[in-house]
């Protein structure tokens, strides 16, 4: 009975959605799938919710830009809607939909609170809301009172499994402690950001980890930590590795390879997270577009193919849940491995 009711509800929602889409689709105007997919994944100056009857419903967000002459401007993104110009600033849709100043070809300084920035701060807020109360639980309870139950228990299991199985295992028992907070923060930041990116509407839905700027910042932080915490052994292995002399003396073959390795490691971190999240979003958005494209043919083709693509979307979303976790896990694990490689003493000890 319970199952019957939920199946009935699902079918009802399906019929409603399909009838709505068939109304919404403009039969004469072809759909630009590339524009739709990329548009949904791009960073924007306002938070677009939906389009209802040709009218855009969106939150305006603050724009913070600097004139080429020198003074800063703060105004609502509403003022730039529909190609409007405000104090010489306009959004150039030909050039990635960024803000430009009239009469200048290069971008002004632009610290606008964009959709992605809002999403990042929402994620930061969620992270603080999850972990600070959890930490307070331990402050309030004596350890003799036993392990926490419920939500705090789940968080404890997650934190400790990452701490012990990923960070401690990759860096080594002696050195892992100073790096654990950074790596745990990276893991949970990426995890929450990935999961929030899967939500179709506010307060999620912004494609943050599928933006190269974000993954660049994360990979760059790992790069800095790896190389600034690396000890003498690490630098010796880069510039004077234990290989036959002819491989490093007249032509510094190995040092060049090792030196490029310093940069390719974080680069691979950056690209891996970015490409995986981007691909997931792109596939889900493309399959969603199938619904709109097929309704342009006719209602029957549209309905039958839409049912198929709905199943695919459900499957992709489940897969993306998995990918959201795996990518956060891999980023953290590889960061730990790179930091561990910068502390090579304990490897030697194992060999001895």
């Amino acid at each position: 009975m319970k199952h019957l009711r939920s199946i009935g509800l699902l079918v009802g929602i399906l019929i409603l959605t399909f009838s709505m889409t068939s109304c919404a689709v403009d039969k004469d105007k072809p759909i630009d799938i590339k524009e739709a997919v990329l548009g949904h994944m791009s960073d924007t100056y306002d938070w677009h919710i939906t389009t209802w009857g040709g009218h855009h419903i969106s939150f305006p967000l603050p724009v913070i830009v600097k004139h080429h002459e020198g003074n800063w401007e703060v105004f609502s993104s509403e003022k730039l809607e529909h190609g409007a110009t405000y104090n010489g600033f306009y959004i150039d849709h030909e050039r990635q939909g960024k803000i430009f100043e009239q009469g200048f070809d290069d971008r002004p300084w632009d610290f606008s609170i964009t959709k992605n920035v809002v999403q990042i701060w929402i994620n930061v807020f969620i992270l603080l809301l999850v972990f600070i109360p959890c930490a307070r639980w331990y402050k309030k309870h004596d350890l003799r009172q036993g392990a926490p139950k419920g939500f705090v228990g789940v968080i404890e299991v997650l934190v400790m499994s990452i701490n012990n199985d990923v960070i401690k295992a990759s860096i080594g028992e002696q050195n892992y402690r100073p790096f654990a907070p950074y790596l745990l923060t990276v893991f949970f930041f990426i995890l929450v950001t990935n999961l929030m990116g899967l939500l179709p509407i506010f307060p999620g839905g912004a494609n943050v980890t599928g933006n190269i700027t974000i993954t660049f910042v994360l990979a760059f932080l790992t790069f800095l930590i790896t190389n600034f915490s690396g000890n003498r052994e690490y630098w010796k292995e880069i510039f004077w590795p234990e290989v036959p002399v002819w491989m490093k003396c007249p032509v510094p073959l190995m040092p060049v390879i090792e030196l490029s390795g310093i940069f390719t490691k974080p680069f691979s971190l950056m690209i891996r997270l970015f490409a995986n999240m981007l691909a997931g979003h792109a596939i889900i958005l493309s399959i969603t577009c199938v619904i709109f494209v097929t309704y342009q043919v006719n209602a029957w083709v549209g309905t039958s193919l839409s049912a198929f693509s709905l199943v695919l979307i459900l499957f992709m979303n489940c897969l993306e849940l998995l990918v959201a976790f795996i990518q956060a896990y891999i980023f953290t694990m590889l960061s730990s491995v790179f930091i561990g490689l910068a502390h090579p003493e304990h490897h030697k000890k194992i060999i001895q």
């Binding site: 960024k98 632009d110 920035v117 994620n123 972990f131 959890c134 392990a147 934190v159 907070p181 949970f188």
Partner: protein, 166 residues
């Protein structure tokens, strides 16, 4: 560069905000979040390990005490048996000794009694003898008073009798 999609081109403003937000959340969680959780869990783990160790030691000690108490009990049993054995031996000794003593004492008493009896008998015999002598003298007096008129004859006779008596 500007022909590429915007997600592929780094944006300085977004980078600034991302860095700021990440450093804020990292600072707060590194100060108030993760170390507290990890430390609490590790402390609890150490506490549990120590409790288990203590419990194991207590168990071992308890087992030792059991063995010890059994040994003490066994020893006590052995001692008890030995004491009983000794007591029995002592009792037998005492009885034997008493028997011997009683025998010798009885012997002594018997001998004393015999001696006394012998002495009494001697006394009695002497008494009887003297009385017999008296009686005989008296009888003899009477007899003689009548028969012997002369002193010489009498004297002689008496002498003869005396010699016979002796």
């Amino acid at each position: 560069m500007q022909n590429m999609p915007s997600i592929l081109t780094p944006d300085f403003g977004l980078m600034f905000w991302m860095l700021l937000a990440f450093l804020v959340v990292f600072g707060l969680l590194a100060k108030f979040g993760f170390p507290t959780i990890v430390k609490a869990v590790e402390d609890r783990k150490n506490f549990i390990d120590e409790s288990l160790k203590n419990a194991r030691e207590a168990n071992e000690r308890l087992a030792n005490i059991k063995v010890e108490s059994e040994q003490i009990l066994r020893e006590a049993h052995e001692k008890q048996a030995q004491i009983i054995k000794e007591a029995m031996a002592t009792r037998d000794n005492i009885i034997n000794e008493a028997k011997g003593k009683a025998q010798t004492e009885g012997q002594q008493l018997l001998e004393d009694a015999k001696k006394q009896i012998a002495a009494e008998k001697e006394n009695a015999l002497a008494d009887i003898r003297s009385q017999v002598a008296d009686l005989s003298v008296q009888i003899a007096e009477k007899v003689i008073r009548r028969q012997l008129q002369n002193d010489d004859e009498q004297e002689l006779y008496i002498q003869r009798i005396l010699n016979d008596v002796k």
